[in-house]
Amino acid sequence: MARLIAGMGTSHVPGVGAAMDNGKTDEDYWVPLFKGFEPLRAWHRENVPDVNIVVFNDHATSMALNHYSTFMLGVGDQFQPADEGWGPRKVPVVEGHPELAWHLVESLILDEFDMAVTADFDVDHGLTVPLSIAYDQPLAWPTKIIPLCVNVIQYPQPTPLRCYKLGQSIRRAIDSFDQDITVGIWGTGGLSHQLGGERAGVVNAEFDKKFLDNLVDDPLANTRLSHTDFIREAGAEGIEMIMWNVMRGAMNEKVNEVYRFYHIPVSATAYGAIILENE
């Protein structure tokens, strides 16, 4: 049977990918961030699952106002790095895992999570930057990837509680998959940040710390926040943090915090990462 080995949360700031792609990681601005990645990458080198389910959002890249989905699973064999306006990132192609992806589709829909499905979806920095953070710059990514795309741009986003429950349903699907493989799940985005408006640049370290503490010990507390709580306290784009609830919902009730890293600033954001293992 498939086995969930760990969960990770990480921001997916495009500037991190650009710094790596353009060889700027030894600049003073970037050094503290990449130093913080070292223990995270060391953990990933020792804990490579067969498949990672990556919960992320598209940023007006492959989905737009003309059609978007609240939750969408990628069932394709491959996903190409997208052109987001400055040419595609020169990172490896993302290899899918159609067998587990289709098992997720069937299991989730029969469990009343009505997923949208795509086989043809170019993936933007929301997915490729977390891969770069975890795995640096390999010639090929060391795991298969199942993209799980969440609408966090168009209001109303799914509720924080719905995201958590989706994670619980994903866990039931993993546990019932009949191949003997290991699986990881990543929640990406956040932490507090606002990119648009006169309030651009707002961050809230106190809110972020509470969110991370709750993520470990009291995850239901993070499901009781409203959309407006996130927007007001963590910035309009801080609402991406709801995607971490999907990851947490898939984990055991009790988890061990393996690593945590928090750094301000990365571009206009508060960067956060956490690795959780089931207790």
Partner: protein, 147 residues
């Protein structure tokens, strides 16, 4: 924050009505009101994902903008790179990101121009390095001075 309570329920069927986040200062939540006013503006921005569209826009910005059903005010705000005006006219920041990328500028240029008061790239960068714009004073228009 309403931690420990049930999430706020949507306000009901009147989608044009006021929302409980409308008092958050300097914040443009991308809801149905902005979706509808900014649809064609955002679809123009989205088109810049394609290299051939970027080339066409670069050759003659005004002519390219005329291909989209945008208002004159929206077109002018694009030509002026007036980012805060673009948000006010229905753009979403992930879409205006395509314009600043097209201009080969770092996003902090756009964030600084949207800020109130406006900031240069360096000033915005310094604010972030110093810990970012403080949340205190910026939660509600009742207390706001944008930091």
């Amino acid at each position: 924050m309403s931690e420990g309570t049930t999430p706020a329920k949507p306000k009901g069927p009147n989608v044009e009505g006021s929302r409980d986040y409308d008092d958050i200062p300097g914040t443009y939540v991308f809801d149905s009101r902005r979706y509808r006013s900014g649809y064609h503006l955002n679809m123009f921005c989205m088109s810049l994902n394609r290299a051939e569209c970027r080339d066409e826009f670069a050759r003659d910005e005004a002519a390219y903008l005329n291909k989209f059903s945008m208002t004159e005010e929206q077109r002018q705000a694009v030509l002026d790179r007036d980012y805060i005006k673009l948000l006010q006219l229905g753009a979403n920041v992930y879409y205006t990101f395509k314009i600043v990328s097209h201009d080969r500028q770092p996003p902090q240029v756009m964030y600084g121009k949207m800020s109130s008061p406006q900031m240069s790239f360096e000033e915005f960068q310094e604010m972030m390095i110093a810990g970012g714009r403080p949340i205190d004073g910026n939660r509600s228009i009742k207390e706001s001075d944008n930091g």
